[in-house]
């Protein structure tokens, strides 16, 4: 990797990659996932042999 200066175009790509990722990251996680985790936890409690 030589230290060639980044063109604005390359910089734009870097920025956009971060933005694309960040965009979803900042969204609120849908309720289905907290419901899912809750269900999984309940299942574990009903079948204790799964633990260990």
């Amino acid at each position: 990797m030589t230290k060639k200066p980044k063109t604005t175009f390359e910089q734009q790509i870097e920025d956009n990659l971060r933005r694309v990722y960040q965009r979803t990251l900042e969204q609120e996680v849908p309720d289905r996932f907290s419901i899912l985790l809750q269900k999984l936890r309940e299942q574990d409690q009903e079948q204790p042999e799964q633990n260990q």
């Binding site: 694309v20 990722y21 899912l36 999984l40």
Partner: protein, 200 residues
Amino acid sequence: MSGRGQSNGADCAKPKDPRDELIDHLPAMRAFALSLTRNGSAADDLVQDSVVKAWKNMESFTSGTNMRAWLFTILRNTFYSDRRKARREVQDADGNMAATLSQKPEHDGKLALADFDAAFAKLPVEQREALILVGGSGFSYEEAAQTCGVAVGTIKSRVNRGRNRLSELMQITDGDALELTDKATMAVVSSASLPQRFHS
């Protein structure tokens, strides 16, 4: 450094269940899944399946190691195995699939980002995931390589090829973007008077 660092022994007495940490990784999992599927609801289905798998295989997670990388590995394995299954069921070229499933970009006036979305969706999935892991989520090349189960050099070359392809695509789509803008403008102004299109 006061207080918290000292009580290490006491904290370790009750080991934390890594399952409790799953919830913290959900936003990142959704972001990564979306970069693979390019479709919001498919991404969430993928995350859901991955969470269930992670939950049931938590014993195979070594606590203290990088949980995000571990979860991403599960997620991408799930994605690729689903894709292989789907391939067997429907013979659909990747391009067609991507075209029909591609997400509508959120329009907040960022035309460049919409262009980028379109270009990004055209990349092979291996390049998309390498770019998103390294460029989006900030994984090191080593972490990305581990997550994808390939050599570090492979990740580097996928990232480079992906970047180059994006540059090419975005230079091409610059033209399309102008056309689109033109059409949108046309729609707005058409009720008034048509702009002079056929310039001499």
